[in-house]
């Protein structure tokens, strides 16, 4: 297993669904060491990272977050967070939904306790539209929070 932290930003080119990619782009400018940054359109790609890394951080857009909490950090290992995560409506723009991927991981007996999920509030997902200014701003904030946490570790 790598001693690295692996960060994967999920997204698609559709409006606020670019949140996860934007966070990774921002993190790439911060010169973090011992961190692998990946952008993907397919949550299923997370499966290949679970065995190989000590820590996995997933970033994705989500609808339905309250206005006063546009960024939320969830621990997959935490049952309460998993319940919240399931209640958070995810946009089905990927080949297999995030929740399905973690269920698949458990079926395959892959570790998920070391996974942290950061979700950012998204509101518009029009095909090939730009990310909204609010979500763009939230992606910068989210990257700063993640960078701070990763640097402290």
């Amino acid at each position: 297993m790598n001693s690295q932290t692996c960060l994967i930003g999920l997204g698609s080119p559709h409006g606020d669904d670019q949140f996860g990619w934007a966070v990774i782009d921002r993190l790439a400018t911060m010169g973090l060491s011992h961190v692998t940054l990946t952008k993907s359109e397919h949550p299923v790609d997370i499966l290949g990272m679970l065995d190989a890394n000590e820590r996995v951080i997933v970033v994705d857009a989500a609808e339905g977050l309250p206005p006063d909490e546009p960024i939320r950090k969830l621990q997959i290992a935490n049952a309460i967070d998993i319940r919240i995560f399931r209640e958070t409506p995810h946009r089905g723009t990927h080949d297999m939904g995030l929740e399905s991927v973690f269920r698949l991981a458990r079926s395959l007996k892959k570790p998920t306790d070391h996974v942290t999920l950061w979700v950012g509030k998204g509101e518009q997902f029009e095909p090939f539209s730009l990310m909204s200014a609010t979500t763009q701003s939230n992606s910068v904030r989210c990257a700063e929070l993640i960078a701070s946490e990763v640097s402290d570790a």
Binding site: S12, P13, H14, W21, T38, K39, S40, E41, H42, V44, D45, L47, G48, G92, T93, H94, D95, M96, G97, S100, R103, L104, S107, L108, K109, P127, F128
Partner: protein
Amino acid sequence: MSSTRKITVNALTRVEGEGALHIRIRDELIESVRLAIYEPPRFFESFLRGRAIEEVPDLTARICGICPVAYQMTSVHAIENSLAIAIDPEIRRLRRLLVCGEWIESHVLHIFLLNAPDFFGCHSGIELAERFPDQINTGLRIKKIGNRLLEVLGGRAVHPVNVRVGGFHHLPSKDELKTLLPDLRWSLEAAIESTRWIAGFDFPDFDLDCELISLQNNDEYPFNEGVIASTCCPSINVNEYEQHFGENQVEYSTALQSSRRDSSAPYLLGPLARVALNSRQLSPSTKHLIETACPPLPLTNRFQAIIARSLEVVHALEEAIDVIENYSPPYHAFTNYRPHESAGCAATEAPRGMIYHHYGIDSRGMVASANIVPPTSQNQLQIESDLREFLPQWLNDSDETIASEAEKLIRTYDPCISCSTHFLKLTIDRS
């Protein structure tokens, strides 16, 4: 008194479009089957106009999140055809390597997580993983090497950016590629074993005769070049495509449906067609598998498309190893060119079938016109035709069963709308 059953299957909105299936049954006979797909590529044809040809490969890669390389490859080949740009043979081989990466990751995802569950009564890949964790883990590991190929050659796994008109922006070093060999060799052996497992599935019997179409090339398995070959008609050159195939608008779908111009007949694209028309060009390990583990060719049972797809994974892995072992970086990453007023086309093979692009270019090197025909719209009419023949055996069953069996058949085509293994929501309207 006649009775009518109307079954509507709504699909989730996805990146590749929206799809729905409407089946009308009257007096225990299928009256109509309508597959409605809404495909984003229609928008691309308009907004590509007026853009510089240098932008086209990256823009067209955005058409599909599952097979961006296929769209990228088709666009650069069409533009290069238009401008008569000669490509260095080593660049050509690298492009084949990039296609190998996409075929591996796209096919493996479909085989192990989307399609295989259907043969074990599982509702999803998650259920299948509980029963066959070793096989699914193997599939995921093979998929990963496909992603790695895309990252190394395409610059990134999502919507690769390294392809340009005339070649690549950046060439990988021999050492960079060689680091992939151990995983590729492991994956080749694993894919061979997986194909033996898959060939032993219990396949529903659905062997309807139809026209199979794919690119064909005397020297290699068709990825980026070839003539358009058919099991029913003489081969044609790609620049004759629009004379023989047309797109039609149907009232229930914003997607265009392709058919033969002369007969309005449907045709089938994808792995079944490619293997049937190009078995001589498959790699040695793939040919050995066909002889020792697979049903006799040609495979025409739609449910055996998973075997054809598995054979293509083996081929792609073996070809990838061959390309890397013999790679010698060319002096230049791309060929220079001078834009001029011209027009050209190309067809390539996406994982799910042949794609056709045609571009008109003005004297400033801007796109004057674009025509993009994706594989799913070409398979759409054949899928409807198949469903009309396949579903009557299920008419005494519940609407849920009919919808489920229809979904399984649609999934054998690996259309973009089947991105999820469990994507259908059933509503029933009886009258």
